[in-house]
Structure formats: C-alpha cells, structure tokens
Symmetry: C2
Subunit: 225 residues, 2 copies
DNA sequence: TCTCGCCTCCCCCAAAAGAGGGAGAAGCTC
DNA sequence: GAGCTTCTCCCTCTTTTGGGGGAGGCGAGA
C-alpha cells in the first residue's frame, strides 16, 4: 500500500524538492501540490491524501488555519506535518492544537523526512528535537519550580489538600462544604490555613497554585459552569 | 570531541548490545556500565558521562528514581534517555518529570539510537513516536472540549481578555488596574462582563476557565506568591 | 497520662468582590 | 449624522471572603 502525500508550500522550488525526496521512495506517492492554504483545503478534499506536508507562511490562508480546517471537516485519519524554517513558540502551540501530527524544520535530512511521513501514517508523531524538548519542559512544568510548588504542597494536611482541590474546581465555600460533608465554617478554617501555609492571598491565587503545582490539570474540569 | 555514554540495564546482554551499537560510532564512547539504579548513580558521579541510557525496571532502585537523583545532585548538562520495553503511561510522566531528555523503546533501530544520543547532547529531546503523540494530545488538551472553551473566549473583547489573563495571574482588582493602567472601577466592569459572558460566578472560576481554555498554562506563572 | 496535631465548628469584623444600575468619549459602520 | 460597540469611570447595595480569635473531640506518640 502506497502512502499518498500532499505537499503544500508557496515556493515552487521547495515543493519540488520535497516531492522529489518523497517520490524516490517506492511506497510513497506525491498525489498533489498546493501553494496556498485554500488550495490545500481543496486538494485535501479532492485527493484524500494520507499525509499532508504543510508550510506555515503562505498567502491567502496560513498553514495553521488550513490545518485546523482540514482536520475539522474531514473525519478520516488524515495526518498533517507542519514544516517551518524557524521554530517560534506560538506557532507550535497553535499547530499542535490544530491537530498536527508533526512539526519539523525544513532543514531536516531527507531520510528523516521520509521517516517522519511513515511515522505519522502509523499513528505516531514526530517533532523536531528542540520542540520535543520544549514540549517536555512545558509538560513537566519547568521542573525546578514545580518541585518547589510540590514541596509547599507537602505542608498541607490531607483535608487541606481536599479543600484546595475543590477550590481548584471553582467551588464556593458552601459548595465545598456540601462536597466534603462538613460545615461552611470548617471550610473557611481550612482555606485560611491553606492560604497562610502557602503564602497566598485569596482563593484565586489558590486556584493558580493548584494548577501550577500540578494538583489540578487542564482537562480535569469537565464541569459546564 | 567524543560523546561519553553510560549504559544502565540489569540484563548483561542488553548492556552489551547497546554498548556494541554505540561503540561502533567514531565519536561515541561507552565509558561505563551499571546494572542497578544505585550503581548508576555511583557511575554517573565517577565518570561524568554526557549521556546515560537508563532502563526502568531494575533491582535496588528503578531507573526513574535513579534519573531523578542523578539530575538532582549533578548540576552539569548530563542527559538521560529512558529505555523501556513497553510504554506505560505513568512511566512517561514520571520520567519526563524526573528530567529525562528521551524516552524510547528498546526495539529502536540501531541508527535511531545513535541519532537519539547525538540529539540529546545537542540539547534536543527524543521520544518514541507513540509517546510524542500522547504528549501532544495531552498538551493540546483533548482538543474537542478545549475548542469549546476557546469558542466562548471569542465572545470577549480584547480588553476583557487582558483582564482575564491578569486574573489568571492571581492578581487582585487593584493589581490588575495598575497592570493595565486603568481605574479599579473599570476593572470591576470588565470582570463583571467576563463573568456574565462566560457564565462564571466568581474570579476563582475565571481562573479555572483560563487554564482549561488554554489561555493560561502551567508554567506561565513565575511569580512567587 | 499528657501533649500535640488535626478536624470540626463557632464568634465578630473589615475588606474585597459582584450585581445593578448610569454615563461620557472614542471609534466604527451604515 | 445616527446607531453601534468598546473602553472608561462612577454610584449604591448585598454577598462573599478572609483574618482574628476561641473551643471541643480525637487519635498518635512521648
């Protein structure tokens, strides 16, 4: 089974280069090329490629927006690899959020590009090493400071951590009281202790702390408030 | 300059295999081997390798704990790549949190292992494709629900987003006023608008929302409160 | 036993926050 | 110019929050 690839870049030479590299592989076929985001969307719909190599900077519609739209409209397992010359932070976030399976620099060795294409069709993801590093740091939470937060968490009693967790759920004192089956006065006491032990001023800072310390994580709150 | 490597695995054959693969490279030298976590710590201290290949499952002290201790005690730029046969979720989190620069499966092709070693000494990071994918998904935050939050964010004006961002920094109304060079009364107006537009009750929920929507991210707050 | 930390609850009080108005200035489009 | 949104600021009022105590019960450990 051959891997069908769509190459999207506004520079003709770059497109040809990538197409050349990929075309040399027996199991890879470049089925189409596009030079703008809008063209990419049309080509993706028409040719239903397995993998799209997408440049970011393009006229009409940039690669990130095109990525988001393509993945939003097609439910199939289309994989998109973002190509860029530099690696600015904000692009990465938007790209990964748009649903890209890869984010690599254009100066990647040809054999690595081929490997990246094969990797993403198999359901894996491929990032430039420097980007992987940044993602890890983000994930691990700046490492140094996070353990610092976690250390401060140790100073809390079990009940105080319960309260802090509820607090991080956006609950009011009364709601926390209900959730933990204790009185509202007790909740106030616990919160006062949490704030003074952690050196915080108010519940909003406590919520921030909970997220920064990793006690609460994005995705934890499915609530609809 | 040669890259000095320490190989840690409790199985003799595995160690020899990795050492063999790496030893064939002109610029890589395996300076030591260790079979337990404790041995690894001692060897790391003695030989000061550039890169450590670390197995997870080992007697005495597992590879994750050893990784954390080694990186905690040595301030140098020692890089650690975790090797594993499977890829269970909890390991990954602990490994990255311990400060590992890589997490790869043992069935990696020899040339990729060599590439991984070179990548991490250069400051990059290398993960198995499946793990990279999971990390991205985690980072992007379940995608579906997050875009829902992001949609709600669109209803805010630019100024209201500014205020929400400050809010997510744990600031009080007065501090937000100072930060944005506006009056305290104005801040209250903006916050009221934010709360009603997003269907939130108080600033604590607003902070939660900011994190869940990806407006604020763990690591953003370097503040010491 | 006695002490100490933790959990529970109570009081009072002041500050902060949020709701509900109104209103003027600037910018925009029609 | 009229109509609209946004940003800015003001007012009053109620609710919530947080600080400062105190106090009883309970279990672990000296």
């Amino acid at each position: 089974m051959t891997i069908r690839v769509l190459v999207v870049d506004d520079q003709h030479l770059v497109r040809r280069g990538f197409a050349m590299v990929l075309g040399h592989e027996a199991d890879i076929e470049v089925v189409a090329e596009a030079s703008t985001g809008l063209e990419a969307i049309a080509a993706a719909r028409e040719h239903q490629p397995d993998v799209i190599l997408m440049d970011i900077r393009m006229p009409e519609l940039d690669g990130l927006e095109a990525t988001a739209r393509i993945l939003a409209q097609c439910d199939s397992a289309m994989r998109i690899i973002i190509l860029t010359t530099f690696d600015p932070d904000e692009y990465i976030y938007k790209a990964l959020h748009a649903g890209a399976s890869g984010f690599i620099l254009k100066d990647i060795p040809p054999e690595d590009l081929v490997a990246a294409v094969r990797t993403v069709v198999e359901g894996g993801a491929m990032l430039a090493p420097a980007i992987t590093r940044r993602l890890i740091q983000r994930f691990a939470g700046t490492l140094g400071s996070e353990s610092d937060y976690a250390q401060r968490l140790d100073r809390l009693t079990a009940r105080e951590r319960d309260v802090l967790l509820s607090l991080a759920g956006g609950k009011s004192n009364a709601e926390i009281a209900d959730a933990l089956f204790i009185g509202a006065a007790t909740v106030k006491t616990h919160i006062s202790n949490v704030l003074s032990k952690l050196g915080l001023r108010d519940r909003a800072q406590a919520v921030v702390f909970a997220y920064e310390a990793g006690l609460a994580k994005p995705g934890d709150q499915d609530i609809g408030f």
